[in-house]
Symmetry: C2
Subunit: 250 residues, 2 copies
Protein backbone atom coordinates (compact mmCIF):
# COMPACT_ATOMS: atom_id res chain seq x y z
CA UNK A 1 0.00 0.00 0.00
CA UNK A 2 1.24 3.45 -0.95
CA UNK A 3 1.29 5.80 2.02
CA UNK A 4 -0.04 9.33 1.90
CA UNK A 5 -1.16 12.26 4.00
CA UNK A 6 -4.24 14.37 3.26
CA UNK A 7 -4.65 17.49 5.40
CA UNK A 8 -8.38 18.03 5.17
CA UNK A 9 -10.70 20.89 6.12
CA UNK A 10 -14.02 19.79 7.62
CA UNK A 11 -15.55 23.27 7.35
CA UNK A 12 -17.28 25.04 10.25
CA UNK A 13 -19.50 22.15 11.40
CA UNK A 14 -22.43 21.40 9.10
CA UNK A 15 -21.92 18.27 6.95
CA UNK A 16 -23.46 20.19 4.02
CA UNK A 17 -20.33 22.37 4.05
CA UNK A 18 -17.86 19.45 3.73
CA UNK A 19 -16.54 19.21 0.15
CA UNK A 20 -16.97 15.94 -1.78
CA UNK A 21 -13.15 15.87 -2.10
CA UNK A 22 -12.79 15.64 1.69
CA UNK A 23 -15.60 13.09 1.97
CA UNK A 24 -13.85 10.89 -0.62
CA UNK A 25 -10.49 11.14 1.17
CA UNK A 26 -12.10 10.10 4.46
CA UNK A 27 -13.78 7.11 2.76
CA UNK A 28 -10.37 5.84 1.61
CA UNK A 29 -8.45 6.58 4.83
CA UNK A 30 -6.92 3.94 7.08
CA UNK A 31 -6.17 6.52 9.80
CA UNK A 32 -7.74 9.80 10.84
CA UNK A 33 -5.74 12.08 13.11
CA UNK A 34 -6.74 15.32 14.78
CA UNK A 35 -7.87 17.36 17.74
CA UNK A 36 -10.53 15.49 19.79
CA UNK A 37 -13.68 17.43 18.72
CA UNK A 38 -12.76 17.23 15.03
CA UNK A 39 -12.07 13.48 15.10
CA UNK A 40 -15.41 13.11 16.90
CA UNK A 41 -17.08 14.25 13.66
CA UNK A 42 -15.79 11.17 11.78
CA UNK A 43 -18.01 8.07 11.73
CA UNK A 44 -16.12 4.95 12.89
CA UNK A 45 -15.93 2.02 10.45
CA UNK A 46 -14.01 -1.23 9.97
CA UNK A 47 -10.50 -0.63 8.70
CA UNK A 48 -10.33 2.92 10.00
CA UNK A 49 -8.30 3.86 13.08
CA UNK A 50 -9.20 7.16 14.77
CA UNK A 51 -6.37 8.97 16.59
CA UNK A 52 -7.73 11.86 18.67
CA UNK A 53 -5.31 14.11 20.52
CA UNK A 54 -5.51 17.17 22.72
CA UNK A 55 -5.02 20.76 21.62
CA UNK A 56 -1.53 22.35 21.41
CA UNK A 57 0.22 19.18 20.29
CA UNK A 58 0.09 20.09 16.58
CA UNK A 59 3.70 19.14 15.82
CA UNK A 60 3.44 15.76 17.60
CA UNK A 61 0.25 15.06 15.66
CA UNK A 62 1.92 16.05 12.37
CA UNK A 63 4.92 13.77 13.04
CA UNK A 64 2.61 10.91 13.95
CA UNK A 65 0.75 11.32 10.65
CA UNK A 66 3.96 11.49 8.61
CA UNK A 67 5.37 8.45 10.35
CA UNK A 68 2.20 6.43 9.64
CA UNK A 69 2.27 7.48 5.98
CA UNK A 70 5.95 6.53 5.70
CA UNK A 71 4.86 3.05 6.83
CA UNK A 72 2.28 2.89 4.03
CA UNK A 73 -0.90 4.11 5.71
CA UNK A 74 -3.47 6.43 4.09
CA UNK A 75 -3.73 9.16 6.68
CA UNK A 76 -6.19 12.04 6.82
CA UNK A 77 -5.40 14.83 9.27
CA UNK A 78 -8.63 16.69 10.04
CA UNK A 79 -8.93 20.37 10.86
CA UNK A 80 -12.08 22.39 11.27
CA UNK A 81 -12.55 25.12 8.68
CA UNK A 82 -9.69 25.27 6.17
CA UNK A 83 -6.45 23.51 7.16
CA UNK A 84 -4.36 26.34 5.68
CA UNK A 85 -5.84 29.09 7.87
CA UNK A 86 -4.47 28.94 11.44
CA UNK A 87 -4.78 25.15 11.41
CA UNK A 88 -2.81 21.95 10.77
CA UNK A 89 -1.26 22.47 7.31
CA UNK A 90 1.58 24.76 8.42
CA UNK A 91 2.38 22.41 11.33
CA UNK A 92 2.70 19.44 8.95
CA UNK A 93 5.09 21.30 6.66
CA UNK A 94 7.15 22.48 9.64
CA UNK A 95 7.46 18.81 10.63
CA UNK A 96 8.39 17.79 7.07
CA UNK A 97 11.12 20.44 6.87
CA UNK A 98 12.63 19.43 10.23
CA UNK A 99 12.08 15.69 9.79
CA UNK A 100 13.89 12.78 8.10
CA UNK A 101 14.70 13.17 4.39
CA UNK A 102 12.25 10.43 3.30
CA UNK A 103 9.29 12.50 4.56
CA UNK A 104 9.95 14.88 1.63
CA UNK A 105 9.10 12.05 -0.79
CA UNK A 106 5.70 11.38 0.75
CA UNK A 107 2.49 12.06 -1.13
CA UNK A 108 1.11 14.97 0.92
CA UNK A 109 -1.68 17.30 -0.08
CA UNK A 110 -3.98 19.86 1.44
CA UNK A 111 -7.75 19.61 0.83
CA UNK A 112 -9.28 23.05 1.37
CA UNK A 113 -12.43 23.68 3.40
CA UNK A 114 -14.82 26.49 4.29
CA UNK A 115 -12.89 28.55 6.81
CA UNK A 116 -14.66 30.05 9.83
CA UNK A 117 -14.41 33.71 8.78
CA UNK A 118 -16.05 33.02 5.40
CA UNK A 119 -18.84 30.95 6.95
CA UNK A 120 -19.41 33.77 9.44
CA UNK A 121 -19.28 36.43 6.72
CA UNK A 122 -21.82 34.49 4.64
CA UNK A 123 -24.25 34.35 7.57
CA UNK A 124 -23.98 38.08 8.21
CA UNK A 125 -24.07 39.27 4.59
CA UNK A 126 -20.76 40.30 3.00
CA UNK A 127 -18.60 42.08 5.60
CA UNK A 128 -15.43 40.83 3.85
CA UNK A 129 -16.63 41.96 0.42
CA UNK A 130 -13.71 44.40 0.09
CA UNK A 131 -10.01 44.16 1.09
CA UNK A 132 -9.52 42.47 4.46
CA UNK A 133 -6.99 40.98 6.89
CA UNK A 134 -7.12 37.72 8.82
CA UNK A 135 -5.32 37.85 12.16
CA UNK A 136 -4.86 35.15 14.78
CA UNK A 137 -5.23 36.92 18.14
CA UNK A 138 -3.63 34.10 20.11
CA UNK A 139 -0.32 35.16 21.58
CA UNK A 140 0.75 31.54 22.08
CA UNK A 141 2.74 31.67 18.88
CA UNK A 142 3.78 35.31 18.51
CA UNK A 143 4.48 38.30 20.74
CA UNK A 144 1.58 40.58 21.69
CA UNK A 145 3.48 43.59 20.30
CA UNK A 146 3.30 42.11 16.82
CA UNK A 147 -0.46 41.55 17.13
CA UNK A 148 -0.87 45.16 18.23
CA UNK A 149 1.29 46.45 15.38
CA UNK A 150 -0.76 44.50 12.85
CA UNK A 151 -4.03 45.76 14.31
CA UNK A 152 -2.86 49.38 14.03
CA UNK A 153 -1.67 48.93 10.45
CA UNK A 154 -4.88 47.16 9.44
CA UNK A 155 -6.90 50.08 10.86
CA UNK A 156 -4.64 52.61 9.10
CA UNK A 157 -5.23 50.77 5.81
CA UNK A 158 -8.98 50.71 6.48
CA UNK A 159 -9.11 46.94 5.95
CA UNK A 160 -12.00 44.91 7.29
CA UNK A 161 -10.58 42.44 9.81
CA UNK A 162 -11.33 38.86 10.80
CA UNK A 163 -9.95 37.56 14.09
CA UNK A 164 -9.38 33.90 14.90
CA UNK A 165 -8.86 32.62 18.45
CA UNK A 166 -9.99 35.92 19.95
CA UNK A 167 -10.13 34.87 23.55
CA UNK A 168 -8.62 32.01 25.49
CA UNK A 169 -9.47 31.10 29.07
CA UNK A 170 -5.83 31.42 30.06
CA UNK A 171 -5.25 34.89 28.54
CA UNK A 172 -8.56 36.78 28.32
CA UNK A 173 -6.82 40.17 28.63
CA UNK A 174 -5.56 40.08 25.02
CA UNK A 175 -9.01 40.45 23.54
CA UNK A 176 -9.88 43.22 26.00
CA UNK A 177 -6.77 45.11 24.84
CA UNK A 178 -7.79 44.51 21.22
CA UNK A 179 -11.22 46.04 21.78
CA UNK A 180 -9.69 49.07 23.55
CA UNK A 181 -7.21 49.64 20.75
CA UNK A 182 -9.87 49.34 18.04
CA UNK A 183 -12.33 51.61 19.88
CA UNK A 184 -9.65 54.28 20.21
CA UNK A 185 -8.56 53.95 16.59
CA UNK A 186 -11.92 53.47 14.82
CA UNK A 187 -14.41 55.17 17.14
CA UNK A 188 -17.39 53.64 18.96
CA UNK A 189 -19.71 53.38 15.94
CA UNK A 190 -17.63 50.90 13.92
CA UNK A 191 -19.47 47.63 13.20
CA UNK A 192 -18.26 44.47 14.95
CA UNK A 193 -19.72 41.01 14.47
CA UNK A 194 -19.36 38.06 16.83
CA UNK A 195 -20.09 34.77 15.07
CA UNK A 196 -20.07 31.71 17.30
CA UNK A 197 -20.15 28.10 16.08
CA UNK A 198 -21.61 29.01 12.69
CA UNK A 199 -23.57 26.18 11.00
CA UNK A 200 -23.82 24.14 14.22
CA UNK A 201 -26.82 23.87 16.61
CA UNK A 202 -24.98 26.33 18.91
CA UNK A 203 -24.73 29.01 16.22
CA UNK A 204 -25.09 32.56 17.49
CA UNK A 205 -24.59 35.84 15.63
CA UNK A 206 -24.26 39.19 17.37
CA UNK A 207 -23.98 42.36 15.28
CA UNK A 208 -23.05 45.40 17.38
CA UNK A 209 -20.62 48.34 17.53
CA UNK A 210 -17.19 48.71 19.10
CA UNK A 211 -18.82 51.06 21.63
CA UNK A 212 -21.13 48.30 22.81
CA UNK A 213 -18.79 45.31 22.43
CA UNK A 214 -17.53 43.55 25.55
CA UNK A 215 -14.81 40.89 25.81
CA UNK A 216 -17.22 38.21 27.04
CA UNK A 217 -19.02 38.29 23.66
CA UNK A 218 -16.21 36.08 22.29
CA UNK A 219 -14.88 32.67 23.26
CA UNK A 220 -12.63 30.18 21.47
CA UNK A 221 -15.51 29.06 19.22
CA UNK A 222 -16.12 32.64 18.04
CA UNK A 223 -14.80 34.39 14.95
CA UNK A 224 -14.87 38.17 15.23
CA UNK A 225 -15.22 40.43 12.19
CA UNK A 226 -14.66 44.19 12.39
CA UNK A 227 -15.85 46.26 9.46
CA UNK A 228 -13.90 48.91 7.59
CA UNK A 229 -15.04 52.54 7.81
CA UNK A 230 -17.30 51.81 4.83
CA UNK A 231 -19.05 48.70 6.21
CA UNK A 232 -22.82 49.14 6.42
CA UNK A 233 -25.66 47.57 8.38
CA UNK A 234 -29.00 47.26 6.57
CA UNK A 235 -32.03 46.64 8.75
CA UNK A 236 -34.49 44.12 7.38
CA UNK A 237 -37.55 42.29 8.66
CA UNK A 238 -35.12 39.41 9.35
CA UNK A 239 -31.67 39.75 10.95
CA UNK A 240 -29.63 42.80 9.90
CA UNK A 241 -27.38 42.53 6.84
CA UNK A 242 -23.73 43.56 7.29
CA UNK A 243 -21.79 44.28 4.11
CA UNK A 244 -18.76 46.18 2.86
CA UNK A 245 -19.35 47.86 -0.50
CA UNK A 246 -17.11 46.86 -3.36
CA UNK A 247 -16.56 50.47 -4.37
CA UNK A 248 -14.34 53.05 -2.62
CA UNK A 249 -14.57 56.59 -4.03
CA UNK A 250 -11.50 58.75 -4.72
CA UNK B 1 -44.24 29.63 -4.52
CA UNK B 2 -42.10 31.45 -1.97
CA UNK B 3 -39.36 33.48 -3.65
CA UNK B 4 -35.77 33.47 -2.49
CA UNK B 5 -32.21 34.33 -3.47
CA UNK B 6 -29.21 32.13 -2.76
CA UNK B 7 -25.82 33.67 -3.52
CA UNK B 8 -23.71 30.57 -4.04
CA UNK B 9 -19.98 29.93 -4.34
CA UNK B 10 -19.03 27.32 -6.94
CA UNK B 11 -15.44 27.07 -5.71
CA UNK B 12 -12.41 27.34 -8.00
CA UNK B 13 -13.57 24.92 -10.74
CA UNK B 14 -13.49 21.25 -9.74
CA UNK B 15 -16.92 19.79 -8.94
CA UNK B 16 -15.33 17.95 -6.00
CA UNK B 17 -14.87 21.37 -4.37
CA UNK B 18 -18.56 22.37 -4.60
CA UNK B 19 -20.28 22.01 -1.23
CA UNK B 20 -23.37 19.78 -0.91
CA UNK B 21 -25.25 22.88 0.30
CA UNK B 22 -24.64 24.61 -3.03
CA UNK B 23 -25.48 21.47 -5.01
CA UNK B 24 -28.80 21.19 -3.15
CA UNK B 25 -29.66 24.86 -3.78
CA UNK B 26 -28.97 24.43 -7.50
CA UNK B 27 -31.19 21.32 -7.61
CA UNK B 28 -34.12 23.35 -6.23
CA UNK B 29 -33.56 26.50 -8.29
CA UNK B 30 -35.94 27.83 -10.93
CA UNK B 31 -33.40 30.41 -12.13
CA UNK B 32 -29.61 30.59 -12.15
CA UNK B 33 -28.00 33.97 -12.74
CA UNK B 34 -24.33 34.85 -13.20
CA UNK B 35 -21.34 35.74 -15.29
CA UNK B 36 -21.21 33.67 -18.51
CA UNK B 37 -18.39 31.21 -17.59
CA UNK B 38 -19.92 30.45 -14.18
CA UNK B 39 -23.42 29.82 -15.54
CA UNK B 40 -21.76 27.55 -18.14
CA UNK B 41 -20.85 25.22 -15.24
CA UNK B 42 -24.55 24.55 -14.47
CA UNK B 43 -26.21 21.59 -16.23
CA UNK B 44 -29.44 22.61 -18.02
CA UNK B 45 -32.62 20.81 -16.96
CA UNK B 46 -36.39 21.17 -17.34
CA UNK B 47 -37.81 23.85 -15.10
CA UNK B 48 -34.51 25.73 -14.79
CA UNK B 49 -33.86 29.00 -16.62
CA UNK B 50 -30.23 30.01 -17.04
CA UNK B 51 -29.49 33.75 -17.22
CA UNK B 52 -25.89 34.37 -18.26
CA UNK B 53 -24.59 37.94 -18.38
CA UNK B 54 -21.32 39.67 -19.16
CA UNK B 55 -18.75 40.85 -16.65
CA UNK B 56 -19.04 44.29 -14.96
CA UNK B 57 -22.83 44.27 -14.77
CA UNK B 58 -22.92 43.01 -11.18
CA UNK B 59 -25.57 45.48 -9.97
CA UNK B 60 -27.87 44.82 -12.93
CA UNK B 61 -27.52 41.10 -12.31
CA UNK B 62 -28.27 41.56 -8.60
CA UNK B 63 -31.40 43.61 -9.33
CA UNK B 64 -32.57 41.03 -11.84
CA UNK B 65 -32.22 38.28 -9.24
CA UNK B 66 -34.04 40.27 -6.56
CA UNK B 67 -36.84 41.15 -8.95
CA UNK B 68 -37.31 37.48 -9.91
CA UNK B 69 -37.35 36.43 -6.25
CA UNK B 70 -39.92 39.14 -5.44
CA UNK B 71 -42.10 37.50 -8.09
CA UNK B 72 -41.79 34.14 -6.33
CA UNK B 73 -38.86 32.48 -8.14
CA UNK B 74 -36.15 30.42 -6.44
CA UNK B 75 -33.03 32.15 -7.71
CA UNK B 76 -29.41 31.07 -7.33
CA UNK B 77 -26.77 33.66 -8.18
CA UNK B 78 -23.53 31.84 -8.94
CA UNK B 79 -20.03 33.14 -8.28
CA UNK B 80 -16.78 31.29 -8.64
CA UNK B 81 -14.88 30.79 -5.39
CA UNK B 82 -16.69 32.29 -2.40
CA UNK B 83 -19.42 34.85 -3.16
CA UNK B 84 -18.32 37.01 -0.20
CA UNK B 85 -14.74 37.53 -1.42
CA UNK B 86 -14.59 40.05 -4.29
CA UNK B 87 -17.70 38.51 -5.83
CA UNK B 88 -21.48 38.86 -6.03
CA UNK B 89 -22.61 38.98 -2.37
CA UNK B 90 -21.67 42.63 -1.74
CA UNK B 91 -23.31 43.67 -5.03
CA UNK B 92 -26.59 42.00 -4.03
CA UNK B 93 -26.67 43.77 -0.66
CA UNK B 94 -25.84 47.11 -2.31
CA UNK B 95 -28.85 46.53 -4.56
CA UNK B 96 -31.05 45.59 -1.57
CA UNK B 97 -30.08 48.72 0.32
CA UNK B 98 -30.77 51.00 -2.66
CA UNK B 99 -33.84 49.10 -3.89
CA UNK B 100 -37.57 49.00 -3.10
CA UNK B 101 -38.54 48.35 0.54
CA UNK B 102 -40.04 44.92 -0.18
CA UNK B 103 -36.62 43.58 -1.22
CA UNK B 104 -35.62 43.78 2.47
CA UNK B 105 -38.26 41.16 3.29
CA UNK B 106 -36.91 38.62 0.79
CA UNK B 107 -35.35 35.36 1.92
CA UNK B 108 -31.71 35.97 0.90
CA UNK B 109 -28.71 33.97 2.00
CA UNK B 110 -25.10 33.47 1.08
CA UNK B 111 -23.76 29.92 0.57
CA UNK B 112 -19.98 30.00 1.06
CA UNK B 113 -17.52 28.31 -1.28
CA UNK B 114 -13.80 27.57 -1.56
CA UNK B 115 -12.28 30.91 -2.48
CA UNK B 116 -9.42 31.10 -5.00
CA UNK B 117 -6.68 32.12 -2.56
CA UNK B 118 -7.38 29.16 -0.27
CA UNK B 119 -7.50 26.69 -3.16
CA UNK B 120 -4.18 28.14 -4.39
CA UNK B 121 -2.67 28.06 -0.90
CA UNK B 122 -3.70 24.42 -0.47
CA UNK B 123 -1.98 23.45 -3.73
CA UNK B 124 1.25 25.19 -2.74
CA UNK B 125 1.39 24.08 0.90
CA UNK B 126 0.36 26.63 3.54
CA UNK B 127 1.57 30.10 2.49
CA UNK B 128 -1.38 31.71 4.34
CA UNK B 129 -0.73 29.71 7.52
CA UNK B 130 -0.06 32.88 9.50
CA UNK B 131 -1.69 36.36 9.46
CA UNK B 132 -2.51 37.55 5.96
CA UNK B 133 -4.31 40.18 3.85
CA UNK B 134 -6.55 39.72 0.83
CA UNK B 135 -6.40 42.63 -1.61
CA UNK B 136 -8.27 43.15 -4.88
CA UNK B 137 -5.73 44.76 -7.24
CA UNK B 138 -8.38 45.95 -9.70
CA UNK B 139 -8.60 49.73 -9.75
CA UNK B 140 -12.05 49.60 -11.34
CA UNK B 141 -13.65 50.08 -7.96
CA UNK B 142 -11.11 52.04 -5.94
CA UNK B 143 -8.32 54.54 -6.55
CA UNK B 144 -4.81 53.22 -7.21
CA UNK B 145 -3.43 55.31 -4.31
CA UNK B 146 -5.51 53.28 -1.88
CA UNK B 147 -4.20 50.01 -3.31
CA UNK B 148 -0.64 51.29 -2.98
CA UNK B 149 -1.24 52.45 0.60
CA UNK B 150 -2.62 49.04 1.56
CA UNK B 151 0.31 47.25 -0.07
CA UNK B 152 2.81 49.36 1.91
CA UNK B 153 0.97 48.81 5.20
CA UNK B 154 0.67 45.06 4.57
CA UNK B 155 4.43 44.88 3.97
CA UNK B 156 5.13 46.96 7.09
CA UNK B 157 2.98 44.54 9.12
CA UNK B 158 4.79 41.57 7.55
CA UNK B 159 1.50 40.00 6.51
CA UNK B 160 1.42 37.36 3.79
CA UNK B 161 -0.70 38.75 0.95
CA UNK B 162 -3.16 37.29 -1.53
CA UNK B 163 -4.06 39.32 -4.61
CA UNK B 164 -7.25 38.91 -6.62
CA UNK B 165 -7.69 40.34 -10.14
CA UNK B 166 -3.96 41.06 -10.44
CA UNK B 167 -3.91 42.02 -14.07
CA UNK B 168 -6.53 43.11 -16.52
CA UNK B 169 -6.00 43.49 -20.25
CA UNK B 170 -7.15 47.09 -20.09
CA UNK B 171 -4.84 48.17 -17.24
CA UNK B 172 -1.78 45.87 -17.14
CA UNK B 173 0.42 48.63 -15.64
CA UNK B 174 -1.14 48.26 -12.17
CA UNK B 175 0.38 44.86 -11.57
CA UNK B 176 3.77 46.01 -12.86
CA UNK B 177 3.67 48.85 -10.31
CA UNK B 178 2.69 46.35 -7.60
CA UNK B 179 5.70 44.15 -8.36
CA UNK B 180 8.05 47.17 -8.34
CA UNK B 181 6.69 48.38 -5.02
CA UNK B 182 6.96 44.95 -3.41
CA UNK B 183 10.47 44.32 -4.75
CA UNK B 184 11.65 47.65 -3.31
CA UNK B 185 9.95 47.04 0.03
CA UNK B 186 10.60 43.30 0.54
CA UNK B 187 13.80 42.67 -1.47
CA UNK B 188 14.28 40.31 -4.42
CA UNK B 189 14.33 37.04 -2.45
CA UNK B 190 10.77 37.19 -1.12
CA UNK B 191 8.61 34.23 -2.24
CA UNK B 192 5.82 34.89 -4.73
CA UNK B 193 3.40 32.29 -6.05
CA UNK B 194 1.33 32.54 -9.21
CA UNK B 195 -1.60 30.12 -9.14
CA UNK B 196 -3.65 29.99 -12.32
CA UNK B 197 -7.02 28.23 -12.69
CA UNK B 198 -6.44 25.94 -9.70
CA UNK B 199 -8.39 22.64 -9.83
CA UNK B 200 -9.20 23.02 -13.55
CA UNK B 201 -7.47 21.32 -16.52
CA UNK B 202 -5.61 24.61 -17.12
CA UNK B 203 -4.12 24.66 -13.61
CA UNK B 204 -0.61 26.06 -13.41
CA UNK B 205 1.49 26.83 -10.35
CA UNK B 206 4.64 28.93 -10.48
CA UNK B 207 6.70 29.43 -7.30
CA UNK B 208 9.39 32.06 -7.72
CA UNK B 209 10.83 35.19 -6.08
CA UNK B 210 10.01 38.88 -6.45
CA UNK B 211 13.38 39.29 -8.17
CA UNK B 212 12.37 36.83 -10.88
CA UNK B 213 8.68 37.69 -11.13
CA UNK B 214 7.38 39.41 -14.26
CA UNK B 215 3.95 40.94 -14.87
CA UNK B 216 3.07 38.45 -17.61
CA UNK B 217 3.10 35.61 -15.06
CA UNK B 218 -0.41 36.73 -14.01
CA UNK B 219 -3.68 37.11 -15.88
CA UNK B 220 -7.28 37.49 -14.71
CA UNK B 221 -7.51 33.75 -13.90
CA UNK B 222 -4.48 33.97 -11.60
CA UNK B 223 -4.37 34.46 -7.85
CA UNK B 224 -1.04 35.78 -6.61
CA UNK B 225 0.29 35.05 -3.12
CA UNK B 226 3.30 36.86 -1.68
CA UNK B 227 4.87 35.39 1.43
CA UNK B 228 5.77 37.21 4.63
CA UNK B 229 9.45 37.55 5.57
CA UNK B 230 9.10 34.18 7.33
CA UNK B 231 7.58 32.19 4.46
CA UNK B 232 9.71 29.19 3.49
CA UNK B 233 10.16 27.02 0.42
CA UNK B 234 10.96 23.33 1.05
CA UNK B 235 12.35 21.40 -1.88
CA UNK B 236 10.96 17.90 -2.29
CA UNK B 237 11.10 15.18 -4.93
CA UNK B 238 7.72 16.57 -6.04
CA UNK B 239 6.86 20.25 -6.46
CA UNK B 240 8.27 22.62 -3.81
CA UNK B 241 6.24 23.24 -0.65
CA UNK B 242 5.59 26.88 0.29
CA UNK B 243 4.52 27.52 3.87
CA UNK B 244 4.45 30.26 6.48
CA UNK B 245 5.31 28.99 9.97
CA UNK B 246 2.72 29.45 12.69
CA UNK B 247 5.33 30.74 15.12
CA UNK B 248 6.96 34.19 15.18
CA UNK B 249 9.74 34.64 17.77
CA UNK B 250 10.03 37.73 20.03
Amino acid sequence: MRGRVRIAGLGPGDQALVTPEVTAALAEATDVIGYIPYVARIAPRDGLTLHASDNRVELDRARHALDLAARGRRVVIVSSGDPGVFAMAAAVFEAVEAGPANWRDLDISVLPGITAMLAAAARAGAPLGHDFCAINLSDNLKPWDLIEKRLRLAVEGDFAMAFYNPRSKSRPEGFEKTLHLLRDACGPDRVILFARAVSTPEENLNVTTLGNATPDMADMRTVVIVGSSRTRVVDTSRSPIVYTPRFTPE
